[in-house]
Symmetry: D2
Subunit: 166 residues, 4 copies
Amino acid sequence: MINGHEPPAWDVQTWLNTDVPLSLDDLRGRVVVIHAFQMLCPGCVSHGIPQAKAIQQAFPPSRVQVIGLHTVFEHHESMNETALKAFLYEYRIRFPVGIDRPDPRGNPLPVTMQAWHLEGTPTLIILDAQGRIRLQHFGQLDDLRAGAVIGQLMAESDAGFSTTAP
Amino acid sequence: MINGHEPPAWDVQTWLNTDVPLSLDDLRGRVVVIHAFQMLCPGCVSHGIPQAKAIQQAFPPSRVQVIGLHTVFEHHESMNETALKAFLYEYRIRFPVGIDRPDPRGNPLPVTMQAWHLEGTPTLIILDAQGRIRLQHFGQLDDLRAGAVIGQLMAESDAGFSTTAP
Amino acid sequence: MINGHEPPAWDVQTWLNTDVPLSLDDLRGRVVVIHAFQMLCPGCVSHGIPQAKAIQQAFPPSRVQVIGLHTVFEHHESMNETALKAFLYEYRIRFPVGIDRPDPRGNPLPVTMQAWHLEGTPTLIILDAQGRIRLQHFGQLDDLRAGAVIGQLMAESDAGFSTTAP
Amino acid sequence: MINGHEPPAWDVQTWLNTDVPLSLDDLRGRVVVIHAFQMLCPGCVSHGIPQAKAIQQAFPPSRVQVIGLHTVFEHHESMNETALKAFLYEYRIRFPVGIDRPDPRGNPLPVTMQAWHLEGTPTLIILDAQGRIRLQHFGQLDDLRAGAVIGQLMAESDAGFSTTAP
């Protein structure tokens, strides 16, 4: 993804932890933090998921929306919807999680993962209140830097404009 | 289990990470450290599995044998053999893991878990070189105490006798 | 301190890790992160100091200036300048550290600590680019929240105005 | 020190946290865990001291005696008895701590540190119930291995003999 541009809409097969499907358009006005993960990815379980939960607790939902995106690109058989539900229950994950749609043409990468050019899991993606990608980080990003981006985007939103995006 | 007594034989449906099935009899002469776990149990993933891997690295295999016992008592559909294989691969678990046999009568607890009166996962079980249960701990046991039991049982084995078992 | 107001100037007896004394005026234009600490305070050593070092590494010095303030209010005899120098050396602390001036009237609290109404150590204080106190937190503040304040203040500085201060 | 031999007596200038001076002879019958440390040594503060406190909590004092040995070989002026007392108070260290005697001939290393050929701090030394050195480790030793040595030596003590010492 080119930073500063709106991503294409996600293509989510099923939403969990939410009664209504989420769309990027509906989230305008809030900073959106997306954790792309796989439930059997050790770095996601040890770092990305706890960070996403901490972000959800640290910031008011009216300002920052945390979303999980389950981008299964390996072990598809074992990371199905039933297994993911068990995982969300056991790890007490309360934020909405979308299941990225499997590629109908057989590419092991699901379709949103392809469209967004994600390199793997965990990937942290942060959108500003205008829906533009401002951070996309594959691997572990420390809390200081993640927090700084969120704080910056909240300040921009308060000011009604962007300081650094094109 | 009553400490100091030999447990009944485990009833393992399938062994992973080993070419031959393991039996308690064959392990006589070595301290045996068994981690009873479930792949979707957070305390197992964050504490029990890393501890089992550390024990495997800290002590020579000729003295201490680490074994995983996958005792699935919930989310059976999602913690099947295929999923467990993916889990072992992703978490780089190299020690032998036995899958506890599902109860043919429909009890959600698998049969070894029942026979050994395990309370849940993670449970750490340590057998002395004579095959007797000397520690059975449900929950997290710190490394100091786990290490002390292993050191004690190795010393007893060196001396050819038990200091504290009946 | 009332958030949003400029604090009185600090009264530093001696500066370490800097050739020239620092003043709040000279730091205008940069976000200023001050860690008020004592070298024998466990929470400072385990949390505050590592966080200050991480902030120094995460953000460019042209945008964020990290400063230590050694506010000794107990064990004065043991936390003198010589001891502090040894501490900074052993803990590889490279950011400027000011020694808060002891109270000439015998109050165990040093004078800046009094003037700023600090409750103890560690205390994290963050000033915006206009020199106003925007955060003052006694105890441990997690990296996400600390990072968010820094990011917010950098964004405000970029925009040349404040979004939330009076 | 050659493992398996009794060390020369320590030469302690002052004992803290104990009403009576301790001697190796008086400790016979117990496993003795000695943490040689300096109060301004980062590895001691982050690892060695917490480990010593955890050992004190994990094992009964009738079986395992934890002792700190303050072996100051640098920054002598700042790590004096007054400063050490403040350190013990702030870090809530309750086990006996002996201050190794400064070398009257001016060697920066204190005399017990010289006599025991310690390489630096932290050093973990474990003596068996017969007063012989069975482990001497410079740097950080993980809890599993430290626990295993303690467990082994307790088992030997129970059996009234040594399994591996000469």
